[in-house]
Symmetry: C3
Subunit: 209 residues, 3 copies
């Protein structure tokens, strides 16, 4: 059971990281970065959120240093994508990664919140760490591309689901529900809400200026 | 005495942090961020400077993790402000927070420099840490809003007073004056200079291109 | 021998850091920052790459805290430059620092990779740390000036030579060649390639949109 769960987590992690890496490649291509810049922005998008969380929590080694084959995977992926992708594929790819990205939102939220809890953080700070894990890869990607972060400005619910998922995880664990069950619930809830938001085009109401 | 000083420090801290949080809300509103983005930028403005200082000094836990009720205060403040504020209030609010912000400049300068000194940093590096504490909340706020940081570009003296206040603090302590007295002096001096600069519209001379 | 090597390293370090500091001053002047902002961006350009590397590796104290006279050097340099430089000098200075900057690229690559190796990082992550040391000063300088980082977008080979130099350093050390020899080789190779790229105007082929 634990064994197949670990496999499941690895599978979701690969799917999520690869979709984040693609989001960086697309953003870089739109800004006409050179191939080196595209790889860098892709790496920032894929690993930036978890790395910032670990800096804030003072955890070492980072995920991508402990499992440094991930850097090879990222490099291979970037080279392959640049060889195969064309400009007309960008929009299609952007839509194709929305669903795996929703999975990633759920996973990084659950993982980040859990890691922060295990580091002894109080509830609200742990939820915030989950949100940071989940969205700051994309935020840093946009900062390096000289854009206002999409997660702050596109009025689509994204970070708010991470907030919700993390809160549910904490409430469940405080009610005595096991770590595994509460993480899976938070992951599924966050990802499902995000998919619904994409399918039905939910919008965050704007602050009335 | 020590007791009422601690109360005074807390009061200044609340005033300063709230005015920084407002500066983030205003910047976010100007860029038409969604409410989630506004909260995030508000949090970065309020806690970014101290957090960066603590990362550089390798201090944990952060202020907002040790006193995590601050995150609730910030969240409540943001929600309340978004419910009550209107576009026509923005400019008024921006002017209204200039004086509490000057207090914050003084406090964070004195606090940051003192913390860095206590960590064993040499004088000039401690002053720099005071400046980082005082201005990088605003700098990161502007970076996330895709603007050149105002503290670097608006030609109003701001960081320079932090530099001055920190230097005075260090010189006083090296002359054997007590920690409390030198911190209060640095705070008052920095804040007073900033208020004078606002009232009289002082400008930093531009580098002659 | 070791003694004169240390002198050589110090000389290259001064040349490299000063040229990075100048690049920050130029970028700040172009964006019409005020003198305080120009000093800040200059400092970020000069020390940002090594500082980010040390944060990622959890190393303290930073170079500029351990050798805090560097902060005085930077401050003096900035003031002197602002007194003596004029707008018409900007383009000339930008070209004049290209060669010392190439030396810096080589030095920071070799130094960063070696430090990361000594911290026990696997090869590819150590190379990445060398690249981060060498280019993120400039990257952060451009972020604070609200520009897409030149290292990602100007289609001139720069980071790619750091990647190559770091890889050569690692391969040499794995073949049993001494630390000193492999570092000098990596430094010279990286710097020489960068100089050739400047002289012959080499370009990175763009990703075909």
């Amino acid at each position: 059971m634990e064994y197949s769960l670990a496999h499941l987590q690895l599978a979701v992690e690969i799917i999520a990281t690869v979709s984040l890496a693609f989001s960086g490649l697309i953003a870089g291509a739109r800004k006409q970065l050179d191939p080196v810049g595209m790889c860098m922005v892709s790496g920032v998008a894929a690993f930036g959120g978890g790395t910032l969380r670990d800096i804030l929590l003072d955890r070492r080694p980072f995920f991508w240093i402990e499992n440094s084959y991930w850097l090879w995977v990222l490099l291979g992926l970037c080279i392959l994508a640049m060889l195969l992708m064309r400009g007309r594929h960008l929009q299609f790819t952007e839509r194709a990664i929305q669903i795996p990205d929703a999975l990633g939102l759920g996973l990084f939220t659950a993982l980040g919140t859990q890691i922060a809890l295990a580091s002894g953080l109080p509830g609200i700070a742990a939820v915030l760490m989950g949100v940071v894990s989940a969205i700051f890869g994309g935020v840093l990607r946009d900062v390096f591309c000289n854009e206002i972060p999409k997660a702050f400005s596109d009025h689509q619910p994204y970070a708010v689901f991470a907030l919700l998922g993390g809160t549910v995880l904490i409430l469940m664990q405080q009610s005595g529900i096991s770590e595994t069950i509460s993480m899976i619930t938070a992951l599924c809830l966050t990802a499902a809400l995000r998919v619904l938001a994409i399918v039905y085009g939910w919008r965050i109401p704007a602050w009335r200026v």
